[in-house]
C-alpha cells in the first residue's frame, strides 16, 4: 500500500533561528508521528528539552500521528504576556 502525505512544518522564535528554517513541506510515503516529522525535517534524532509541538494549532505530544495536509509546528517555551 502506498500512503502519500504532504505535511506543512513550521519553526518559531529561537528554534527557527537554530534550525535555520521557518517553513518547509515534508512529503512522506508512510504514516508519521510528530517526532518523526522532527527527525526527517531537522536531521536531529532527539527533541530539544522543553520543546513544544502543535498539530493544526493544537498542542500535542511527540507520539501524536499526523495526517495528510496537517500543519506541524515546533517552538520553544512561550514568553508572551
Amino acid at each position: 500500500m502506498h500512503i502519500f502525505m504532504t505535511i506543512q512544518v513550521r519553526f518559531f522564535a529561537s528554534l527557527r533561528e537554530q534550525i535555520g528554517i521557518a517553513d518547509t513541506q515534508l512529503e512522506a510515503s508512510a504514516a508519521l508521528t510528530v517526532i518523526q516529522v522532527w527527525q526527517q525535517t531537522t536531521g536531529q534524532s532527539t527533541l530539544p528539552a522543553n520543546i513544544l509541538m502543535a498539530v493544526n494549532m493544537d498542542y500535542v505530544a511527540a507520539e501524536q500521528p499526523v495526517a495528510d495536509g496537517d500543519e506541524v509546528a515546533f517552538f520553544p517555551p512561550v514568553t508572551g504576556g
Partner: protein, 148 residues
C-alpha cells in the same frame, strides 16, 4: 463572550477599556465587578537595560489558544464579558504588552478569571520575546510562575 485581539500598534489600555465597556451588550451591563490586568514593557529585565524587543507570535494558533483559554474561564466562572489584547511586533518601553479585563456580576469571578487567563496566556499562548540589549539580542527562555 470575550473579545480577543492581536495588535501590531501601541495601545492605551485605559482608553481601550473605556471604549470597550461603552460597547457592552445590555446583558453585560449588569456587571458589578471588573478585574483588569495590564502588562507593561520595562526598560530593565533580569539585571540589564533593554532598549526594545520584538514580540513574535504564531498567527492563527495564538487566537485559537487564547479562545480556548477564554472558554475554559467561562466554564469555571460566571463571566459577562471579557477583553484580551496582546501586542506583537517591535515594542519599546513603556508600551503596554497585554491587557486582560473581565466583567462579572461578582468580584470572585472577575478576580479569579482575570488571573487564570493571564497565567494560562503566559504559559500557553504562542508568543516569544526577543530583547535588544546594549550588548546584543537575547531570546527570553521562559516566563516566571505567577502563582506562589
Amino acid at each position: 463572550m470575550m473579545h480577543i485581539k492581536i495588535l501590531d500598534q501601541a495601545f492605551e489600555p485605559y482608553a481601550q477599556l473605556q471604549g470597550y465597556q461603552a460597547s457592552l451588550s445590555a446583558e453585560a451591563r449588569g456587571f458589578g465587578a471588573t478585574s483588569v490586568f495590564v502588562g507593561t514593557m520595562r526598560d530593565f529585565n533580569q539585571g540589564v537595560q533593554v532598549q526594545r524587543m520584538v514580540l513574535e507570535h504564531y498567527p492563527g494558533m495564538t487566537e485559537k489558544e487564547l479562545s480556548r483559554i477564554a472558554s475554559e474561564a467561562e466554564q469555571k466562572w460566571e463571566i459577562l464579558d471579557g477583553l484580551i489584547l496582546h501586542r506583537v511586533g517591535e515594542i519599546t518601553p513603556p508600551d503596554s504588552i497585554v491587557l486582560v479585563a473581565i466583567w462579572s456580576r461578582h468580584r470572585l469571578d472577575a478576580f479569579e478569571a482575570c488571573r487564570y487567563i493571564m497565567e494560562a496566556l503566559k504559559s500557553r499562548a504562542p508568543f516569544w520575546k526577543k530583547e535588544a540589549l546594549d550588548t546584543g539580542e537575547r531570546w527570553l527562555d521562559k516566563n516566571t510562575a505567577g502563582y506562589k
